[in-house]
Assembly symmetry: C2
Homo-oligomer: 554 residues x 2
């Protein structure tokens, strides 16, 4: 009989924030947990989204039993529309709210009809080949979030999803400590646990603190209250509705994605509002400021968001006016600080009062801090521990927490995307690495922005472009006239026409030193011209624009 | 007799961090306080530096009595080499250490000989026309920092420079509370006070906390300790030397700018080290890890810094190895978080232990927090209060502190760069706005990156460029053949050659609908082609590359 083994293969989310996807493979059956997108980093110029590389799943499509979703955030479900066409028919399991949000996205991509969707609830046991999956309740910043207990022939793997422990969450359903403790009693082979806030000491406070802060602000505000948060933060939307009810304000939701999410959450019972509290955006101006609360997006300073447009007076319906109180109820995602700060500045300039996380307790993160992470480790008492969901230093800090609760170093694995951790009865070790290139989504295309194009864009962005057009007689293969030079995004402190004139001479001079080229050799000549011109421009301006020589045969 | 008046005109640093410069103008005499650079924001693609617009000083050069420097940081002295050629002969006053640092920069730009430099010390009184300036001691993250009491015919203006109050600073010289209190007793017309940390509650802790943390780390570290901080943070360099002496480590300073600053501070007596403690970088490998501390730059994740190169194994002398302890002793400057996080991740991947501000108290900022800002307001009890040095929301938060200590709203002015606050015996009001365009330094040039070029670079960065070359017969003004199309940084998920072929047809089709153009009308035709091609590409790809039509007459 062959040796039993289990492979854990992160396809995304380890060594980065976002595009979460974890493969669990027994050799006979395999499943994937989550299928998220990542928002691009600054230097990925012009990229819209990054998604996991699913080559491994495509290769082993015949053994892939399901994709299991832990909750309905974009970094866990957002890549489904892009990968499903390559994994036709695979069952997707999710909780009720997450399923509702997945349906919207698949409908937009005209993939809903062919999708194979199924609902699970905490406590269900789903048989998937020789694997059995049981979702359990965790707290997070969206209702209906679960972790997964995955029973394998070698033992139980606990995947926490994104989680925190909140004894008084907005939706009233605390994480299921008891179930976690029972998994621990039964024996846990491996714990895969959320590292997003592993750098943060202590406990993540209860959402109740935000409820109290909001209620206070709603009471005191002399005019309208405008709350910007993530479109998917259903719990925050509920808190705003609750505070509005208690202070006799109506609530208008503005922004397509948030309206859509709220609509689904209302339909499915994850959001509740007394009749008459929710009003349409068009109705806002029928009420006085003290009767109004507005929920909207733009908490990350996105220039096209409703909030940014309200701040700059470009919104169709509403403008920010003196007397408004604006609440940015979100943590800045690293990289967004500049845009967020600019939005705050613009709102202050409009005469509004602005409350944001540095000056007021108007947001609490959705992830466990260090003491909760230790609690998860102590409840489940795993043999092996793999920190997941985080940039490398977060995984390192989380690993230190594992050491702190007594796990030996050789039972803790800091993995990066693509590394294959193989567990047998004798031990665990990284045995392999599967391909995990970055797959980019740009415009309508998937996977088509290569690193060459990104490099080109960076050069264009930094120093612009210089186009050189040569006219070459197609019979004599001789230059006809001096080349023409065009620039875009290129800058020179002196006289640009004079510089270009000198560059033209420099090129002609360069070519004069050479044999008269045959037409077939123009490729060589253009390379030579590119180098000569780059050198000339660098000497004169200390800049390195892209140089594009174009040969026109006449 | 004409009415006495005083004008306060910020040329930089209000509504932004950096390029600090404040003009104080009595109508007869004027002075400028500080002359700093700003590091560019993300979307200022390819820009090296931003400097203040000194048009107002150039216009009134005959009345400009001096530029007064509060301390030697780049955001206070860095623009001097770029503006002095336009303000020849103007006296520059600074404290001893700042003067040393200014000299280095002017020498690099070959401006030292012609510069008119003068030294002042706290308590000196410098007569400048009808103005008299008295520097007073403040604490900041560089020694020899001062604020300025500026006596004018209308009353005394207090400019704090960058400051905090530290009763036990590293250099042993606390801020001069007593002098500030006496200014308050004599009567202060206007307080211009540092807002950089106006969002932070409480008091900024003493630098002693960092000394204690460093000493502890130096004791515990099993190998080398590598400390990255700002090149100009002389106080931190002293703390590292002190901790090294107490733990029997040698100190090597690596990185040109930090070596240079340390050298000047040592020569001028602002930094002290027992003989034999400082060693050259080449000597590091003669010692065991426990005998070594390395000071270097790169705390902001700069990819070309010594630290980044040590982390990636690209440094000439040293590599980061397991057992090293790395300390990032600096606050992330907003916008740099991504680069810093990536550096931390890379260091962890090298097997080093990494301590940074989120997980350890290895840095304390150089600016006053809210309680200190209130103390400054209460010590000086000004008639008018102008928050300076900060982005708009920081100025707003600082203004609120002014309200909190009892100043009426009409005596507090939130100004932005270029606004002219005019104070007379009857009141104060914003009367005018002087030109303050952003002046960019890029490569060798000053002031030459216009907003058009920045816009072009942004478009190039986002979607690349498509170049269309038309050959037109110079006699018939007819198209010769179909146009040629070239792309750079442009991406398409389908078959790019096919797309280009279809684009060529689309262009020919577009032109066919038109009259046969005369050559003089090609400008119109190229605009039309640009629009048609943009529309075609948008429809096909949802992207908006820059389109550059080039007409070649043959």
């Amino acid at each position: 009989m062959s040796q039993r083994l289990l492979r854990l293969i992160p396809l995304g989310g380890l060594g980065e924030i976002g595009k979460n996807m974890m493969v669990i493979d027994t050799g006979r059956d395999l499943i994937a947990v989550d299928c998220g997108v990542q928002f691009p980093e600054e230097e990925m110029l012009g990229i819209d989204l990054v998604i996991p590389d699913i080559s491994y799943l495509v290769t082993h499509r015949d053994r892939l039993r399901a994709i299991l979703i832990t909750h309905g955030h974009e970094d866990h479900i957002g890549a489904l529309p892009y990968v499903l066409p390559k994994l036709r028919g695979v069952p997707i399991w999710a909780t009720r709210l997450a399923l509702g949000l997945i349906r919207v996205r698949l409908r937009e991509h005209r993939l809903l009809e062919e999708a194979n969707l199924a609902e699970y609830r905490p406590g269900d046991r789903i048989r998937l080949g020789e694997l059995e999956v049981e979702p359990f309740r965790v707290n997070h910043s969206i209702p209906d979030s679960v972790g997964l207990a995955i029973r394998t022939p070698l033992g139980t793997v606990i995947h926490t999803g994104d989680f925190k422990f909140d004894h008084t969450p907005v939706d009233g359903v605390p994480a299921d400590f008891a179930r976690l403790a029972r998994f621990g009693d039964e024996g846990v082979l491996a714990l895969l646990s959320d590292s997003t806030y592993a750098e943060r000491p202590g406990y993540t406070p209860s959402e109740q603190r935000v409820s109290a802060a909001l209620l206070n602000i709603f009471h005191e505000a002399p005019g309208r209250v405008i709350i910007a948060t993530f479109a998917s933060l259903i719990a925050r939307i509920q808190q705003v509705i609750d505070a509005a009810v208690r202070t006799n304000r109506k609530v208008a939701i503005i922004g397509r994605s948030m309206e859509q999410n709220a609509q689904i959450a209302l339909e499915l019972g994850y959001l509740s509002a007394p009749p008459g509290v929710l009003i349409r955006p068009e109705e806002v101006n029928r009420y006085s400021g003290r009767e109004i609360a507005i929920l909207t997006t733009g908490s990350q300073g996105e220039p096209m968001s409703s909030l940014a447009r309200m701040a700059s007076g470009e919104h169709r319906l509403l403008s920010v006016v003196p007397g408004d109180t604006i609440i940015l109820s979100a943590t800045p995602i690293p990289g967004n600080e500049t845009l967020i700060n600019r939005t705050i500045d613009n709102l202050f300039k409009q005469g509004a009062e602005v409350l944001y996380s540095r000056v007021s307790e108007v947001h609490i993160q959705g992830h466990a801090s260090q003491e909760e992470l230790k609690m998860m480790l102590n409840l489940t008492r795993p043999r092996y521990f793999v920190p997941i969901h985080g940039e490398y230093r977060m995984l390192v800090q989380h690993a230190k927490l594992g050491q702190a609760v007594g796990l030996p170093d050789e039972q803790i694995f800091i993995l990066e995307d693509g590394e294959v951790l193989e567990i047998t009865e004798h031990g665990a070790t990284v045995v392999d690495r599967v391909p995990v290139s970055e797959v980019y989504v740009d415009g309508l295309g998937v996977g088509d922005v290569t690193s060459v194009i990104l490099r080109d864009r960076r050069q264009l962005a930094s120093d612009g472009i210089v186009v050189v057009v040569f006219q070459v007689d197609h019979r004599t293969a001789q230059l006809v006239d001096e080349p023409d030079i065009f620039t875009r995004g290129f800058v020179y402190s002196g006289n640009l026409p004079v510089l270009i004139e000198r560059a033209r001479h420099a090129i002609v001079e360069e070519l004069r030193h050479e044999y008269a080229p045959h037409l077939a050799e123009w490729k060589v000549v253009t390379d030579q011209v590119r180098e000569a011109l780059a050198r000339f421009i660098w000497d004169q301006t200390r800049q390195r624009p892209m140089i594009l020589p174009i040969v026109v045969e006449v």
